[in-house]
């Protein structure tokens, strides 16, 4: 197992290298650069040149890349000139918010998806099943920013139960933190939950038709045990895949939802980095999101091993 994890991490190196290349050059395809973004509309070419020289942007692009990569390998992700902090610090500052939001969304998704999907599969073609399908369709097709906006309208502005935006740190107030997180987490979690619910339903339908389920019934296993012990563990493999991919996205920061709810997460940071052409920050953020994906995938693969003993590393 440990050898497998190490091997997987080694495989991640070329992946991340590729991403660093893409990130670095893609960022530079955007019209304008850090300097023009910083100086605004009125500046002389001399000022711009001076600033470029100061940030090392006048070097040939390959040199810039090699320089950046060498620094990254040494743990130095560069300096964000706009936020005036080192990139790593800027990301690490935002990270807890994004991780909390991602985890909360996944928890909401799981709480919705697994019971709903399971019951829908067991009561196939019943009213419950149709209701769950409706939820699945709505959850997938409703954009989360629209749902988020609606929720702000209903629960914050009209009912006044939650703040309409802004973030309260976990250490300041647990309750306040939860209040500021719950709406965005629901907005994100319903979509993830809808995808995972549909997956749970179809996977459960497939598993309950398997011979080993018939065999378990012939053994005299109760229906509850049949579902929770015999069926669910097998049915969860594809659901974990879906949840894993979605968690990867969520860890990358849910740019729009973070923006709507005013949460200072990684997504918001990436958005700022793009508008400001903050190259170092943007590269760092992309690299971080890619690493998050790689790690989440690794975790998913490890969970597979627990669910399905046929998968051995």
């Amino acid at each position: 197992m440990i050898a497998y994890i190490i091997r997987r991490l080694l495989i991640a190196i070329p992946v991340l290298f590729g991403i660093s290349l893409i990130a670095f050059f893609m960022v530079r395809l955007v019209p304008g650069d850090t300097v023009t973004a910083m100086l605004g509309n009125s500046y002389t070419p001399e000022q711009a040149e001076a600033l470029r020289a100061q940030y090392g942007l006048d070097e040939p692009i390959i040199t810039q890349y090699i320089l950046w990569l060498t620094n990254v390998l040494q743990g130095d992700f560069g300096f964000s000139h706009f936020t005036n902090t080192p990139v790593l610090e800027a990301i690490l500052l935002r990270l807890p918010v994004t991780i909390e939001l991602a985890l909360l969304s996944v928890v909401i998704a799981v709480i919705l998806a697994i019971p709903l999907g399971t019951i829908a599969a067991l009561k196939r073609n019943s009213k419950f099943d149709y209701g769950a399908s409706l939820f699945g369709m709505l959850g997938i097709s409703i954009p989360n920013f629209w749902l988020g906006t609606l929720m702000i309208l209903f629960f914050s502005l009209w009912a006044g139960w939650f703040p309409s935006g802004g973030f309260v740190g976990l250490y300041e107030s647990v309750w306040g933190n939860l209040q500021s997180m719950i709406l965005p987490a629901i907005a994100l979690g319903t979509a993830v939950g809808a995808v995972a619910m549909r997956m749970t339903r179809s996977s459960m339908l497939e598993v309950t038709n398997q011979d080993y389920i018939k065999m378990a019934r012939a053994k005299g296993v109760s229906s509850r045990r049949l579902i929770t012990k015999h069926a669910l563990k097998n049915a969860l493999v594809p659901v974990v895949t879906v949840l894993g991919i979605q968690t990867g996205y969520l860890l990358g920061g849910s740019v729009v939802v973070e923006q709507i709810f005013g949460l200072p997460g990684v997504g918001q940071l990436a958005l700022q980095a793009i508008t400001n052409r903050d190259y170092a920050l943007l590269q760092g953020t992309i690299l971080f999101i890619a690493s998050a994906f790689v790690i989440v995938n690794l975790i998913v693969d490890i969970i597979y091993g627990f669910l399905n003993p046929q998968i051995r590393y």
Binding site: D211, K214, A218, H230, K233, N234, L307, Q310
Partner: protein, 342 residues
């Protein structure tokens, strides 16, 4: 009759589908005596498996499935039991071995865990003693190094070993009756022989009766005591293995026996012409009429019931039975009557 573990009377299992009612099992009578091996033989789709699953009440829970008749287990009608009562019977008193050992073990759990589940749910045993029971059972079915094997997963077992594992599971609570639904069909021939030997040995050692569902007459001859031949949802002939093989009474049974190759014989095999009837749309009268070489008018009008043939315990459902006494009653002048050779 006191020695009958199981008596099935007029069992009907009908499936209500969009295309009409499928009469998969339509009036089956059979009994299993203590410690015997009863074979239920018939071609695919004749209702063998549905019969066995109806007996276990694995069929009948859905509104589209209608099971009627009587299933007397030690004199108690299983059809009047609640699902909860059935659960206590399943696995403990009656257990089942399915056709495909590759799919009948749960891939997510250790083989030992799956066997140990039986004493845990039925005898409320603790995990440790149940695990020990699982190892004992694996030993009993002849799996080498059972301690090691118990903690392996099904995919680490070969096909024959898995089927032994399933048999071990079905035996774990010492049932009176094992229903084996084509337990050797998915296995290759040498492994088949091993599993059959195992079943016979277990019956001899434990006195467990076995209801063996098969389409393989070789298996029947090898293993079983009595045979019930099924055709299109009904039992058409019932008797001892010797009766059925040496003196088959029903034209369908005769056809089955004739379609077996005989060692050393250069005779061409005689298949039964035609196809079994559509279970959606069964003909009036005998279900074998369209394939029967001896068909008479009465066969197209009335369904024959099982009646004693040459002996009291050798029964067949055919209008040819008792013909001698009836002296051709119901017979028509339809062409010429083929010579009866039995």
């Amino acid at each position: 009759m006191a020695d009958n573990i199981l008596e099935v009377r007029d069992l009907k299992t009908h499936f209500h589908t969009n295309d009409g009612v499928v009469k998969a099992v339509d009036g089956v009578d059979l009994h299993v005596e203590k410690g015997e091996i009863l074979a239920i033989v018939g071609e695919s789709g004749c209702g063998k498996s549905v019969t066995s699953q109806s007996i276990m009440r694995l069929i009948g829970a859905k509104s589209s499935e209608k099971v009627s008749g009587e299933i007397l287990y030690h004199g108690e009608d299983l059809l009047s039991k609640t699902e909860k009562e059935m659960r206590q019977i399943r696995g403990k008193d009656m257990s089942m071995v399915f056709q495909d050992p590759m799919t009948s073990l749960n891939p997510a759990y250790k083989v030992g865990t799956q066997i140990a589940e039986m004493p845990i749910i039925h005898e409320k045993k603790d995990k440790k003693s149940s695990w020990k029971r699982a190892i004992d059972m694996l030993t009993k079915v002849g799996i080498p190094s059972p301690e090691k094997r118990a903690s392996q997963y099904p995919h680490q077992f070969s096909g024959g070993m898995r089927q032994r594992g399933v048999v071990a599971m079905s035996l774990a609570c010492d049932p009176d009756l094992i229903i084996a639904d084509e337990p050797t069909t998915a296995l290759d021939v040498t492994i088949q022989a091993q599993v059959l030997d195992l079943l016979r040995k277990l019956r001899d050692d434990t006195g467990t009766a076995i209801m063996m569902i098969t389409h393989d007459l070789g298996v029947v001859a090898e293993l079983c005591d009595r045979v019930a031949v099924m055709y299109a949802g009904k039992i058409v002939e019932e008797g001892t293995v010797a009766d059925i093989f040496d003196n088959p009474q029903h034209p369908y049974t005769q056809g089955l026996i004739h379609s077996l190759p005989k060692p050393g014989s250069r005779e061409r095999l005689k298949p039964i012409e035609g196809q079994p009837p559509n279970l959606h749309n069964l003909p009036e009268g005998c279900r074998f009429q369209d394939r029967c070489p001896f068909v008479m008018d009465v066969c197209r009008e009335k369904q024959p019931e099982l009646v004693p043939a040459d002996k009291q315990d050798h029964q067949a459902a055919c209008w040819l039975m008792g013909e001698e006494e009836n002296d051709g009653d119901g017979r028509t002048g339809e062409s010429e009557e083929p010579e009866k050779t039995f």
